[in-house]
């Protein structure tokens, strides 16, 4: 599928330019991001280092006690290879203090809490360092809703939110992200042995092929069937997109006035920039 094969030179220029322009126009020179040891945040660190100079990029690894130690090692490797500032802020104490009050909480609640704990660390460092928080969610997970609202989905700017996981792999290779990070199984690393693809029930390559045709090319369901996509798979992905749409929108405001924010009070965020 040619549509998923990105021109990485062009894409790199666009995304590096995006970070440089959108960060500096608000009068800031630095960014902060969470570095998980996975490929998405690694790629964002590389893009930011190229855009702003590695000295202006602060990467924070935020492990929980059950996180795979390999994740932190990979995060260190990524930071070292693109030269950005690196620190470790464990979230175990905060998360455990909370769940001490709710010991029966399931994995989903715990995973969401961890993601939101990390978000508060990043936004606190945003104030500390006068740095914008970079998002690291790719288009695949944003469309599937495979992320935590106000957790890992929260950021000021997201350079990779319009590229699929398949393209994240391509650009990461082109930009020199360490091989170990590119080649390992994607994982949210919430518990031992968890992998995204096992949890989702399909591979990223498989779903990206479908998402590209369904979202970008707007093929109809019969057209998708004609291209060989399983009907049930198509239906289930369509439902995932629909059911997670709330995560991609601002909170819904009850309209009572003539000018309601984002409804008939409409300005670009770059207003005056």
């Amino acid at each position: 599928m040619t549509g998923l094969i990105a021109n990485t030179d062009l894409l790199r220029k666009l995304l590096v330019g995006f970070v440089r322009d959108e960060v500096r126009k608000v009068g800031v020179s630095k960014v902060v991001l969470g570095l998980s040891g996975g490929i998405d945040s690694a790629l964002v660190a590389f893009i930011a280092a190229e855009a702003l100079g590695p000295e202006n990029v602060h990467a924070i690894c935020m492990p929980y006690k059950s996180s795979n130690p390999e994740s932190e090692a990979h995060a260190r490797l990524v930071a070292a290879s693109c030269g950005v500032n690196f620190s470790v802020v464990p979230i175990t104490a905060m998360v455990d203090a909370y769940f001490g009050m709710f010991p029966d909480a399931d994995n989903m609640r715990r995973g969401n809490k961890m993601a939101r704990e990390r978000m508060t660390v990043l936004f606190d460092h945003s104030a500390l360092l006068r740095a914008l928080v970079l998002g690291t969610s790719n288009k695949t997970e944003l469309l599937l809703g495979y992320g935590t609202l106000y957790g890992d989905m929260a950021s000021a700017l997201n350079p990779i939110g319009d590229i699929y996981k398949t393209q994240v792999w391509q650009l990461s290779a082109a930009m020199g992200v360490p091989k170990e990070v590119i080649e390992k199984q994607p994982s949210a690393d919430l518990w031992a042995g968890q992998t995204d693809e096992e949890e989702l029930g399909f591979s990223y390559r498989q779903v990206d092929e479908l998402l590209y045709r369904m979202v970008d090319e707007r093929l109809t369901k019969p057209e998708l069937a004609a291209e060989g996509f399983d009907r049930e798979f198509v239906e289930s992905i369509y439902a995932k997109i629909q059911n997670s749409h709330f995560k991609r929108r601002l909170p819904v405001i009850a309209k009572v006035s003539n000018r309601t924010i984002d409804r008939d009070f409409r300005y670009a965020r770059d207003w005056g920039k």
């Binding site: 040619t2 549509g3 094969i5 990105a6 021109n7 062009l10 894409l11 220029k13 666009l14 330019g17 995006f18 322009d21 959108e22 126009k25 700017l157 009070f265 409409r266 300005y267 670009a268 965020r269 770059d270 207003w271 005056g272 920039k273």
Partner: protein
Amino acid sequence: MNFTAVLAQIKPKLGCVADNLSIVEGEIAKAREAGADLIIFPELALSGYFLKDLVPEVALRVDSPEISRLIELSRGISIVIGFVEETDDYHFFNSALYLEDGAIRHLHRKVYLPTYGLFDEQRYLAKGEAFRAFDTKFGRFGILICEDMWHLSASYILAMDGATTLICLSSSPARGIEGDSLGSASAWQKLVSTTAMFLNCRVLYSNRVGFEDGINFWGGSEYIAPSGESIVRGSLFEKDFVTASVDEGALRRERIFSPMIRDENMFVTMQELERIAQKRRR
């Protein structure tokens, strides 16, 4: 006559008319110093593009101090500039002015306001209703604003009205990262080249750069000879100051070599369009 045109590939600030006017004045000074005869700015150079509810706040009347200042500057160099125009009856247009020798020579109001995909112009702006060629010191010109050029009839009308130079002011967003070159850039390059060839006109295309809410404007401002050949092209994504030496001889030779516009039968076109219009009215 031969003349030198500058395509000012600038990066306007969204909603900041005063800042943009000073960018524009800086480019005009630079172009004068370089001995250029004409400087062309992009669409909405004085305001930025994704204005939404800012439209009434950044709008300028043609008798505003800002436009008067540019009219004054046109005594030294001819100027083409895009801005939001406010009229006496409080309509807002995506407009372009051609200023020369201290006077307004032409005002074009964008006719085709894109309202699909990432575009939302008709929500905020009124539609222009004319394509008119006009005389300048450098020959007969026609102005198009961005989407106007994607309508064959617009360039055709200007060529029939005697324009031999088409100026297009643009704020074209970058998209399409699959091919050898940027999708929107290669689409535009085909369009300007084909238009020049079809109409034996030269095209001066001025596009902006920078980002607005994550949307990039790709630049690539370009001078296309009447043969369709790209003579000079500005850089992709970066600010630029593109200098085009426009050769009158090339226009004359092209019109001798491929006299399609001489042979164009406007009356057949009108007769057939009238027939189609009649049919649609029924």
